[in-house]
Symmetry: C2
Subunit: 605 residues, 2 copies
């Protein structure tokens, strides 16, 4: 078998790969995440890389990049077959660089009462008159029987003696998971993970004080295998070893975050004595290595429902080898631990009046409390709000238009950073659609005016109405256009969420106006303009003062469970109270989806 | 580094080893057990092997084998350094062949009520109207919440679907450990292990019926690192990686027995859903990989006391990956799970009157109930009763003299198998000493008569009194002699046990006559002649009708815990009630030991 040497820049990572595989697959083998939202299908054009040296001829019809880019060495990694040694540059995308976003959220309201606690004890050393077992000595000092973590026992005698019998016992419930030397004890830490389809966020806490020590986020390494849960599950079902690849990628991502978090706090990885994790059904199950093929076909039954307690070590996490991993309970279908965590963070178990929770991510999750019951559904919003599938879409990074407003008969754009406009992010997409609806540039069907229909518009606006590739478009700033296709993507994403909550409202027998609270959670919840989101139908038509931004609520729920042991019981009650509604099977949802493709009428409030 | 090719016969196993290591170490690397009771010290002469081809020069003073044997290629494996390619024959010793002995014991008296039970359930398949999680479906069918073994969950969805939702649930308490296809379910099995210092015995049971399916025993693979607990602990303390070698050897021995047992029952290894194990402190801790250095120095504190529940998989056992391993509780010092198992088998928790338990093995364990409390001690009997350290000693195999009796003024020997006398086993050693005491050939000091002192003996006996190597000896049969040194070894072994129970009797304030039951457990308990054992002082001076043979009681206790879940609570109570007495620290024991070196006066009963 012929092999070729491939070197990736800027990391410098090099490896030999068999001839005939794609650059995308080579990058996977090198452990380098490359965005491939379409799962390597050659259709999304997002996996652009530059071949800096070596021959990479373009197969006829395989690549849609412009001639100038091809000449400069740009290729689609998924569509370029390796037939010789190459040096390949992986561009630093705004997405891959975004390590600071998505980590803000509302404050914690739960009392600090973690599962993991410490007890400082001084044990009597063994003597001829007292030759009890080491564990008996500990049981006496701790004031009662306790279980001992299997991984701790082998080295326990040496630890007790090295510590001169003065130890800090680390207990997780009634289970001893570490025995630290009292005179030189490292801190006792915990990490809460929000394992998103696109982004993973970890927060490190000191479990003795409750103090947050570090936050880190990164792309989910599974992204090379598709950008939504459906393509990930398909990868697991259809590729030999696919499920293992996805598991490995998730584990690697989490371990990189663990490393980054503990490095920030200048602590050893073994100081992490407890981990909580919330994600949707597919993310949780793929990470745990559970057979998730049933999520790829009707009726989408998950493997488990109640929360799982696992050994962090056996789950593959580089924490304290005796640390426990708490994985959130799952409601049904794709409504998983993240939704339960969001409901926990929103206090759904303490509500007195009807409320709606919308978690906008690559998957949109919706929970509706009608005063008696909770209805939950998941709907495939896609990654449009995160900038994918939008022609000039990007994350909220430098150069991104993040706000668009009608002002004095024209459009004004706000650009992040001190930079020229390079694209637009999700919040600007919503702003632009809402303002263009108000200005009459966008019809409620989603059709953009063409230049020859714009005669009645103010001059400034009219000058922005252009044609691109025989379709109408609207120039926001510089070369950044909002295209007709972008509006269609927005309509699909918005309609999926709107049809979801409208169907749940119907099942629950509620009008939107009955909702006393609408909780908006997720990636850009804090940044969205609610009036604009409501204008395009992403939020129900309720007065603005009922809309609450709760930020990354999934992460907040995971933190709550880390810092307050009673939160697990609350989460379990929420799961048990929630009824999963499989939207795809309901004719009402299909009707609602068709209706939701029309932007709604504006109400005043 | 120079390497040489070593081939071992009769197995044919071959490997390359660095020049300069000994044949014993090469055998270890090849995984071939070679007896080395002295731990490779070149003093016991038991690790004889034959070099069939290749040069293995004898270093001056390194070897005590006779010239004729050296000329025939015999060497001590521990004292022969490899400096060229060799073919080495490992003799098939009676010891290594003895796979049928030690597996008999008294019947089980506990009710059949194992921890592991099965429930046949038929689950409703998921539908759009019922898309609950797989675990929720199981919980409903099983009639309540249950824990699921972490190792089972990943493949559970595929198993349920492959079984068409008709499954045999295997539950260990409230924990689901397997889900078998109802229409083609393998049996559900369990194994009870007695992990002895010298011999390991495993018994396989059908856990659905309680039926015993197979018994197997083998040498403990650790034996190459020394033949008693002290030399094993020393190996773990003094050799880099020594503890790991001992652990690996024990795991390998247990897995070979598991393989043999399931092969006998024609069942897959995964059918073994539960394992119980009893051994002394050192054996249990070394097998579990627990730091046991503290057992090598006063005050000999064990690592744990209460029983341990472990994952069989993580302990290294090739059983069902979700099977649980139960390790017996430990009393203190070297008094471990085997003694608790013996007490359980003897029904020490139901005694009404004082009783003594003596478990004769390489380590002698003694438990005394005085009507209120239990006193336990361990005493280093050594392997003399198992034929080691006895000049013509061997196991109870073909060619072994197993009975010796005075008859018509002469000695009559019974030989096992249809063979010439090749040696004598433990029971014959006791018989011979007792009868020679009665005949006046042996003095109570342990001195054998010399030929010139034997004039008063009957002719037949007198003819057997000989000299060997300037010391008196007694010819039993053919070339099999009982030497003065053999009697000294017997005196030491017997004195250790006798001083042990006499010291405990003193501490408990009892005379031997107060004992209503004397339980004799261990390797040759069923075969020993009690009157002879009592004659030499191995048993207290009580009427013979109070002596009960309970055979391999440690194994019986392990089986009881496998087949009756309540037995664990009983074992735990026995452990908690038992007080460990460290004999070595007591002046009374030293005195008793010196006195016990004299054979006792005979009583009539």
């Amino acid at each position: 078998m012929t092999e070729h040497r491939i070197t990736f820049q800027p990391s410098g990572r090099a490896l030999n790969v068999p001839a005939g595989i794609t650059i995308l697959e080579a990058a996977l083998r090198a452990g380098i995440p490359v965005e491939a939202p379409c799962g390597g299908g050659g259709t999304c054009g997002k996996c652009r890389v530059r071949v800096a040296s070596g021959a990479a001829p373009v197969a006829p019809g395989a690549c849609k990049l412009p001639e100038a880019e091809l000449a400069a060495g740009w290729r689609l990694a998924c569509a370029t077959v390796i037939n010789g040694p190459l040096t390949v540059e992986i561009p630093a995308t705004p997405r891959a660089q975004s390590t600071q976003i998505l980590t803000t959220d509302a404050g914690l309201s739960a009392t600090f009462a973690p599962c993991v606690e410490t007890r400082d004890v001084m044990l009597p050393p063994p003597t001829l008159a007292d030759d009890r077992a080491d564990t008996a000595r500990l049981a006496e000092a701790l004031g009662g029987p306790f279980e001992i973590a299997p991984g701790l026992l082998p080295g326990l005698p040496a630890r007790l003696r090295a510590a001169n019998w003065r130890v800090r016992a680390v207990l997780d419930g009634g289970r001893l998971l570490d025995a630290l030397p009292l005179d030189a004890a490292p801190p006792v830490l915990g990490v809460a993970f929000d394992l998103g389809t696109t982004t993973v966020v970890g927060t490190l806490f000191n479990l003795q004080t409750g103090e947050p020590l570090a936050v880190a986020s990164s792309l989910n390494g599974q992204i090379s295998h598709g950008d939504d849960v459906v393509s990930r599950i398909r990868h697991a079902r259809e590729h030999a070893g696919g499920a293992q690849q996805l598991r490995d990628a998730a584990v690697k991502t989490l371990n990189e975050l663990l490393h980054s978090l503990t490095a920030q706090a200048d602590a050893p990885a073994t100081a992490v004595c407890h981990v909580t994790l919330a994600g949707n059904t597919a993310m949780q199950q793929l990470f745990l290595g559970l057979d998730s093929r049933a999520l790829g076909e009707v009726p989408f039954a998950p493997v488990f429902d109640k929360a799982l307690e696992r050994s962090a070590l056996h789950a593959g996490l580089a924490a304290n080898p005796c640390a426990r991993l708490h994985v959130f309970p799952q409601v049904g279908g794709f409504v998983g631990g993240d939704t339960v965590a969001c409901m926990l963070a929103a206090g759904f178990d303490a509500l007195a009046a009807p409320a709606l929770l919308i978690d906008i991510g690559t998957n949109g999750e919706i929970a509706l409390f009608n005063g008696r019951e909770i209805f939950c559904a998941s709907t495939a919003a896609g990654p449009a709000f995160e900038g994918a599938r939008i022609s000039r879409g990007m994350r909220a990074a430098s150069g991104a238009i993040d706000q668009v407003a009608l002002r004095g008969g024209d459009i004004a754009c706000h650009i992040l950073g001190n930079a020229a406009a390079a694209g637009l992010c999700g919040t600007a997409l919503i702003d632009a659609a809402a303002e263009l609806l108000r200005a009459g540039v966008l019809e409620d069907t989603g059709r953009l005016l063409e230049p020859d229909e714009a005669a009645h518009l103010p001059d400034a606006l009219r000058g922005r109405v252009v044609m691109e590739n025989n379709a109408p478009a609207f120039r926001l700033e510089g070369s950044v256009l909002l295209t007709q296709q972008d509006v269609r993507e927005l309509q699909l994403a918005t309609a999926a969420i709107r049809a979801g909550f409208e169907t749940l409202l119907k099942i629950a027998g509620l009008e939107a106006d009955a909702l006393r609270d609408v909780f908006l959670a997720g990636a850009f919840g804090n940044l969205i303009r609610p009036a604009n989101a409501r204008r395009i139908g992403l939020l129900p038509q309720v007065p603005l003062d009922r809309i609450r931004f709760i930020g990354n609520a999934s992460s907040l729920g995971a933190k709550t469970a880390l810092l307050n042991h009673a939160a697990r019981g609350r989460a379990e009650c929420l799961r048990a109270a929630a009824r999963h509604v499989e939207l795809g099977s309901l004719p009402d949802f299909q009707d609602a989806f068709v209706n939701a493709m029309l932007f709604p009428e504006e109400k005043t409030a």
